[in-house]
């Protein structure tokens, strides 16, 4: 088994989100919360305390009417790879290896029972994709019956985040193993948000597999840390060297530019800073 794994070609699961298609309906957020037993409180008005593995941001071009343009940007965990494999901002800092980078899937895991709640990973994540359980989850009466049995609810005092619905990957792998198939089909493992998006704005698959749609859409360049070749594609804060696996598509220049920080009058994107 171990030898087989060693020779196996690694997958790199990623996402492409077409911002021109996203309507900001929030279905992805709802599906994510239901699928992953994400806790909530009676009063969720303070968004700095809300746990939203998938969060939809509203962006505007800052122009007055009628030139104003709006874009909705769904933000899951970016599953950063860093400049060398596994050197994502959060994984590299966790003192207890409670979060880890899977070389097999490219997914950044979170081990709830090992996390002791130092929150260093949250400080390291520029996307605010990590959330702390300030309270123990309290489900409304009867809701326990509707929780997903495949995802463990989290206790107070630990950090949680989007896992690209990793339990679905495990289930799909188990099924493929039982059927004697070495590889998963593209549609066998899909995240809840991907399936819930009514506009079909989210595409999910293996970025290392040229047959997968995500690979065709984003055209990641492995020689340049996965930088997309597609001129309409971009990644959030790419210049920081986080090397995310979530790609965004937009035909609008201002949206693509909103994905990263640029100096005034800066036209060309400079080479990302290298991090050891």
């Amino acid at each position: 088994m171990k030898e087989g794994r060693t020779h196996k070609k690694f997958q790199k699961f990623g996402m492409v989100i077409d911002l021109d298609k996203c309507t900001g309906c929030g279905s992805c957020m709802v599906a994510c919360m239901a699928e992953n037993n994400v806790p909530f409180r009676k009063d969720e008005s303070n968004k700095l305390l809300s746990i939203t593995w998938m969060r939809v941001y509203k962006l505007t071009n800052g122009m007055p009417f009628p030139k104003i343009d709006v874009c909705y940007l769904p933000r899951p965990c970016m599953q950063c790879e860093g400049q060398h494999e596994g050197h994502s901002p959060c994984v590299s800092v966790c003192p207890a290896i409670a979060t880890d980078y899977s070389m097999e899937s490219g997914i950044v895991s979170q081990i709830y029972t090992r996390c002791f709640g130092c929150r260093y990973c949250m400080a390291s994540c520029p996307y605010h994709a990590r959330y702390f359980n300030w309270w123990d989850p309290i489900w409304p009466d009867g809701m326990e019956k509707y929780l997903s049995p495949n995802v463990s609810p989290r206790m107070r005092g630990v950090v949680e985040k989007c896992s690209f619905c990793f339990h679905r990957y495990q289930l799909a792998k188990d099924r493929a193993f039982m059927e004697g198939r070495p590889e998963l089909q593209e549609d066998e493992y899909q995240t809840a948000c991907t399936q819930a998006c009514p506009a079909g704005a989210i595409t999910f698959g293996d970025l290392n597999n040229p047959k997968h749609t995500v690979s065709k859409m984003a055209e990641p360049d492995p020689k340049h840390s996965g930088r997309p070749k597609n001129p309409n594609a971009f990644r959030l804060l790419e210049r920081l060297g986080t090397n995310p696996k979530v790609y965004y598509l937009s035909s609008r220049e201002w949206v693509r530019r909103a994905g990263d920080n640029y100096l005034k009058n800066e036209k060309k994107v400079k080479k990302p800073v290298h991090h050891g």
């Binding site: 303070n46 700095l48 305390l49 809300s50 746990i51 941001y57 962006l59 940007l73 901002p89 590299s92 800092v93 966790c94 003192p95 207890a96 290896i97 409670a98 090992r114 996390c115 002791f116 709640g117 130092c118 929150r119 260093y120 949250m122 400080a123 390291s124 994540c125 520029p126 996307y127 605010h128 990590r130 959330y131 702390f132 359980n133 300030w134 309270w135 123990d136 206790m155 107070r156 005092g157 630990v158 950090v159 959030l236 804060l237 210049r239 920081l240 060297g241 986080t242 909103a258 994905g259 990263d260 920080n261 640029y262 100096l263 005034k264 800066e266 400079k270 800073v273 991090h275 050891g276």
Partner: protein, 439 residues
């Protein structure tokens, strides 16, 4: 009533006065303990931290007490390794202050983590790539060293010293103290540095991120340097406050002046290094990530550019200039100003490297977020101060913390009425007879 425990040749206040003082500090301590238990039993929802401010007041307090507690390792290094014998007059107190600072830091960490019962995971499941792991290991080890350094002082208590075993143990521990001083300096170099590294490695946070040598970002070296520079200032500051409280001179001037002089030079070199680091960061590193310096200091009501100027110029250059010049450090008022500014500067630096990092938005569509601590956070942050005051009071009363105290404040065996008359006189000014600072 407790006179048998009080060191020979020194005078202490009446027991009732001492107990009253301990009681007042104890009330504050209990307030902090109550808040601490609230945080432990009800969770970190007792704080005003949130998902943007995962690091907040406590982590600042933690970094600040460790920085100012750096006086222990640096004074020990100067005394035992570099042979600055004049510092033997203040080394005990530096160790005691360091012990308080480091035990406080560990307590704060125990309150700060979301699952305190899993705190040991940091040692058991250690991620050797994490700066926080290095902090935890070095911090714990160094606390052990400080305990070893503090024990001989406890053994010097009049009653304990009567027991031959403890007497010899204390003597032998003194003999090998250089080994522990060297170990402490080594450990401190790494954990002070790692605390700087905690911020410096955050490559997702352009405000914090710095390049460096091998695995160590420049903040690693800057934190060690600043702790070595400002830690002794804190030792002097607490000594001066103690002298004011007890109304006596406790440490000879030349010891203070020597420490102040070394601190001044350390502070000057640190400030130059910090300036170079800031310049490179502002002109090369941050722009390469799409940020200008002012992106980090505008559009919010608190974190203006004043904070950078205050840190480098007012709390860096000014105290350095005072402490480096003989005239400056010999002038009591100037010395007070200098050491206070230096301590404020290092605390401000730690504040910036914890809270401002959290406040600065990184994504273009994100906003500045400010935070104000809850009373539970404030109480648990004051808790170590109350604990420190109590431990200092007890140590000062029953242990020979200041070796020159009896010499500086002689009590002659006079008849009762004469003694009473004598006690109201100011202490004999022995400084005139003392040699100037050896340097």
């Amino acid at each position: 009533m407790d006179s048998a425990l009080i060191p020979k040749g020194v005078k202490r206040c009446p027991l009732w006065q001492f107990l009253l003082f301990i009681g007042a500090a104890g009330i504050v301590l209990l307030w902090g303990v109550y808040a601490m238990f609230l945080c432990w039993f009800k969770g970190l929802n007792q704080t005003n931290m949130n998902d943007y401010y995962g690091f907040a007041l406590w982590i600042w307090a933690d970094l600040a007490v460790i920085a100012v507690g750096g006086g222990a390792f640096f004074t020990g290094l100067l005394r035992y390794i570099f042979g600055k014998d004049a510092l033997k007059n203040i080394i005990n107190y530096a160790v005691l202050i360091g012990f308080i600072c480091y035990s406080s830091a560990l307590l704060i960490l125990a309150i700060d983590i979301g699952q305190p019962l899993r705190g040991w995971f940091i040692f058991w499941h250690a991620n050797v790539h994490s700066m926080l792991t290095e902090v935890a290991f070095c911090l714990s080890c160094y606390f052990g060293v400080l305990t070893i350094e503090y024990i001989p002082l406890i053994l010097e208590n009049r009653q304990i010293d009567k027991v031959p075993f403890f007497h010899h143990l204390g003597h032998n521990m003194h003999e090998v103290m250089a080994v522990f001083a060297a170990t402490g300096a080594f450990l401190s170099f790494f954990h002070q540095g790692s605390l700087g590294g905690v911020a410096g490695v955050l490559f997702g946070r352009p405000f914090a991120f710095r390049e460096g040598i091998f695995i160590w970002p420049w903040t690693f070296f800057l934190f060690t340097w600043s702790a070595a520079a400002c830690g002794p200032c804190f030792t002097i500051l607490v000594t001066k406050i103690t002298e004011k409280v007890v109304g006596k001179k406790l440490v000879k001037d030349y010891a203070i002046e020597l420490l102040a002089k070394i601190s001044g030079w350390m502070l000057l070199t640190y400030t130059i290094a910090k300036f170079i680091d800031t310049w490179y960061w502002a002109t090369v590193l941050a722009p390469s990530q799409g940020f200008t310096l002012m992106d980090f200091y505008t559009n919010n009501p608190l974190y203006g550019i004043w904070i950078l100027i205050t840190e480098i110029a007012i709390c860096g250059l000014v105290p350095a200039a005072i402490l480096m010049t003989p005239k400056g450090r010999k002038n009591p008022v100037a010395l007070w100003i200098a050491i206070s500014l230096a301590v404020a500067g290092v605390c401000l630096n730690r504040w910036v490297m914890v809270l401002q990092i959290m406040a600065v938005p990184v994504m273009t569509f994100d906003n500045w977020v400010l935070y104000f601590p809850s009373w539970q956070e404030v109480a648990t942050t004051i808790l170590p101060v109350a604990y420190g005051v109590i431990l200092i009071a007890i140590s000062y009363r029953y242990l020979p913390v200041f070796p020159n105290e009896a010499e500086l404040n002689p009590i002659e065996p006079l008849p009762a009425e004469e003694a009473e008359e004598k006690s109201v006189d100011p202490p004999v000014d022995l400084e005139l007879e003392l040699k100037p600072a050896e340097a």
